[in-house]
């Protein structure tokens, strides 16, 4: 049957035809346009709407950006240059203000001959962060540290740093570079010492203060070693008590006496000289570094079985989360005089850092509590089954997983806190956004300049915050252990 049929057919194709090119509507740019922009009436309308929005933005701002002036000494001069170059009706941005007041935006009223100190502090911050933040990839470490080294040293030379400090910074940066090739974890001691060094670099004064602050925990550690064989709990308590007693009673006098014997002072800078991004970064970095541990402790306390601990933590967290940060800053600036022993004064930046830390820690605690709750119950039970005690279970099993789950929330809390550092303007500190721009506008030359400072400051905030959120995405991917 089939044979006879085959005979009747005039032509049978026995080879494949070469693939024909797809129709023009189904390939290349046309297809992409049809699928992504004009797939239906609604989509087409949206595309037109989007194009209109884009056109509006470009038409409004293009001239202004294109006519921007970068080199002038006052707003009037800017306007003269713009009208001379592009005609009397032309509008243009006057970014010359940024060029002129660049130092003020970065350092506030920090003494000009000491600008190299914050610069060095920031450069060394990168070295201190290297073992903590970007420890996984050698390439990233190399690139970040090399750029940091070059930029920091160049900036320090330009800003006129003394040769001795230049050598110091070069040594630390070079050590960071070399160790990052071998084993970056060896830099950890530097990361631990860094906060105190940073404070000393920024505020100046005597080095003996930070040294004796470090001696406290060292003595505590000795006490812990001596007593830990008797009872771990007793040893921990003793360590804390020894540290606190040393700090409160001995450290101040010891630092003063040591300074008398051997002066290790550099020029000190008062807190009211801080301003601009130096202030934002100081408060932001300190708040970030302090709020995470505090947030973890609060979250653990809130999950605790002990009624009193749990309720104290709940009350604290809900109270802090229930009031605006601005009221807490007012407490820091107005009420702390009431709560401390008569006659005590302490630094306004420190007060603000404490308040910002408490504020961020309450939010952090809720984020981490979410991570703790998301962890399957089996993990807790497995830790118990292994016979781990509470702290070992938390440290080895629970927290690594819970913190990993809560990374996005933790980083958005950081971002929120960094953005909130601008609110210090309301307690009289010179944040880059409002106070510093007001100070710039208070000069006759720059009276009436609004948009350029906003764009500059906003742009820097955007870069930092956007960078942090991208970093959290990278971290999430890197730490992903489950198979999907």
């Amino acid at each position: 049957m089939s044979d006879t049929h085959a005979q009747t057919v005039a032509f049978v194709r026995d080879t494949m035809l070469p693939a024909a090119a797809p129709p023009i509507r189904e390939s290349g740019a046309v297809r992409w346009l049809r699928e992504n922009l004009f797939s239906g009436p609604v989509n087409s309308i949206l595309t037109v709407l989007g194009l209109l929005i884009l056109w509006f933005l470009v038409a409004t701002f293009w001239d202004w950006f294109a006519h921007s002036v970068w080199n002038a000494s006052s707003l009037t001069e800017c306007r003269e240059i713009i009208s001379a170059t592009w005609g009397p009706d032309a509008r243009g941005a006057c970014f010359a203000v940024i060029r002129e007041r660049w130092n003020q935006y970065l350092f506030g009223f920090y003494p000009q001959h000491l600008y190299w100190r914050p610069t060095m502090t920031f450069g060394l911050l990168m070295v201190a962060l290297a073992p903590v933040l970007f420890s996984a990839s050698l390439t990233i470490r190399r690139v970040v540290l090399a750029i940091t080294t070059l930029v920091t040293l160049w900036a320090m030379v330009v800003l006129g740093a003394p040769a001795g400090w230049l050598v110091f910074a070069a040594i630390v940066l070079a050590t960071g570079l070399i160790l990052s090739e071998r084993n970056i974890a060896w830099m950890l001691p530097f990361s631990i010492v860094y906060p105190l060094l940073g404070v000393w670099f920024l505020w100046g004064g005597t080095l003996w203060g930070p040294i004796f602050v470090l001696v406290g925990p060292a003595l505590g550690w000795v006490a812990w070693r001596l007593l830990s064989r008797l009872s771990p709990l007793l040893a921990t308590v003793a360590a804390i008590v020894v540290t606190l007693i040393f700090w409160l009673v001995l450290a101040g006098d010891a630092a003063r006496d040591a300074e008398g014997l051997l002066s290790l002072s550099i020029e000190s800078v008062r807190s009211d000289r801080f301003g601009g991004f130096l202030l934002s970064l100081t408060i932001g970095v300190a708040g970030i570094a302090l709020s995470l541990p505090l947030g973890i402790v609060l979250a653990l306390a809130r999950q605790s079985d002990m009624f009193l601990i749990k309720s104290l933590s709940v009350v604290f967290i809900e109270f802090i989360r229930g009031v605006p940060l601005i009221t807490l800053l007012f407490v820091a600036s107005l009420l702390l005089n009431y709560f401390l022993p008569p006659g005590t004064t302490f630094d306004i930046i420190l007060r603000v850092i404490i308040m910002v830390t408490l504020f961020a820690a309450a939010y952090m605690a809720e984020v981490i509590r979410g991570g703790l709750a998301a962890l399957p119950k089996g993990q807790y039970e497995a830790a118990d089954a292994l016979g781990l005690d509470y702290w070992k279970a938390q440290r080895l099993i629970v927290l690594p997983q819970a913190l990993k789950i809560s990374i996005p929330g933790i980083v958005s809390t950081f971002i929120g806190m960094f953005k909130d550092t601008t609110l210090v303007t309301f307690v009289g500190l010179y944040d880059p956004l409002k106070s510093m721009s007001d100070a710039v506008r208070a000069n006759v030359e720059w009276k009436g300049i609004y948009w350029e400072p906003f764009i500059f400051v906003g742009g820097i905030f955007f870069l930092i915050c956007f960078g942090m959120s991208r970093y959290s995405m990278y971290l999430e991917r890197r730490l992903q252990r489950d198979h999907r």
Binding site: N36, L37, S39, N43, L46, T47, L49, G50, L51, I53, L54, S231, L233, L234, D305, M306, F307, L308, I309, L312, E318, F319, R321, G322, V323, P324, L325, I326, T327, F330, V331, L334, L335, N337, Y338, F339, L340, P341, P342, I415, K419, D420, T422, L423, T425, F426, L433, K434, Y450, W451, F454, V457, G458, F461, F462, C465, F466, S469
Partner: protein, 418 residues
Amino acid sequence: MTDIRATATPPFRLSMLVNDRRYRSLTFQVIVFILVMAAAWWLIDNTIRNLALMGKSFDFGFLFQRAGYDISQTPIPYTADDTHLRASVVGLLNTLIVAVLGCIAATVLGVIVGVARLSRNWLFARLMTVFVEIFRNMPLLLWILIVYAVFTEILPPPNAFRGDEASAGMILFDNVALTNRYTALPTLAMTNDPGSLDLGARITFNWATIAFVVVLVGGWIVRRMIRAWAQDVQDRTGDRPVTWWKTLAVMTLPSLFLIWFFGLHLEAPSLQGFNFTGGLNVSNSLVALWLALTLYTAAFIAEIVRAGILAVSRGQSEAAFALGLRPNRTMSLVILPQALRVIIPPLISQYLNLTKNSSLAIAVGYMDLRGTLGGTTLNQTGRELEAIVLMMLTYLVLSLIISAGMNVFNARVKLKER
């Protein structure tokens, strides 16, 4: 079980307070309690000594003294002769006004942007992503300052609207005028005013407002009854009676009747001399604060909405289609209830954030709770401690009320696990 342990329990020794897990937590709590009490005592003792040194006392009597300052926006009648307490209440109401307006607008804008980010339209989705990233990654204070600067620096002054060749024009059919001092909006006016209900303390409610509230709530109740009846008929007979025109009539007709009865109409602002009168002149500080809060919070809400919709797995909508549900029924019966469960808890915290962020009114001089109680009152009376404590407590209570209310709503849409 119990008797086994009873026999196994060793007699109590003092060292068990530290070494036995059952007693250790008790010891620890007692120590913490003592420490907390000591800290509290220390703080209170310091405060008392400081107050004595400064010759001040801790009492709230200043709230009943004459305030002596003016407030630009007063939801309830207020003059400089009123008490600080009334000024604080005015401030609180102003906070609530901007918070409620902001929450509504941010939710609408946030949902639109969040859905648009998921759009298959490449261009539009990218534009919305840019919007979200820009607003999320810059400080709110920046947006408040920028929006306020746009209003005060770029918009024309009221007298630019004057004359036949005015350099500025009103928008929305001559109903709204954007000026550099205020936004002139049309107001509702009545030809047939029924008078007001006096609640005492010079707080009044117009009878027409009350009538509208009664009619709308009544309409809502009748609508529910009609739907319950329709459900009942459907359960018994399998046919659902057509109800949409009945519910629509119940919801709208009485209101329309009231509008006709009271002669309710819009009264557009008109320029008299140098200023707009006849309408409602909303100060630019309120508009700028509201707009900035809305844009900033909308960016966060957009992300929440997007995450919520993405959290409903694709299988859910496919299953709904397989059951033969039409697309809009799929949306309302399958996707939305599940997405809402993910969306609502973070949405609550955004509402709370917006309310707390409204205290940034300080940047534009809007007289909210911080501006009255924590601002002028505090400065005039010098009562920092009382004013700030009272202000914090008010914000705290406000936050707790919002979160309690939203938690009730959350409990209603939550997954019913049985």
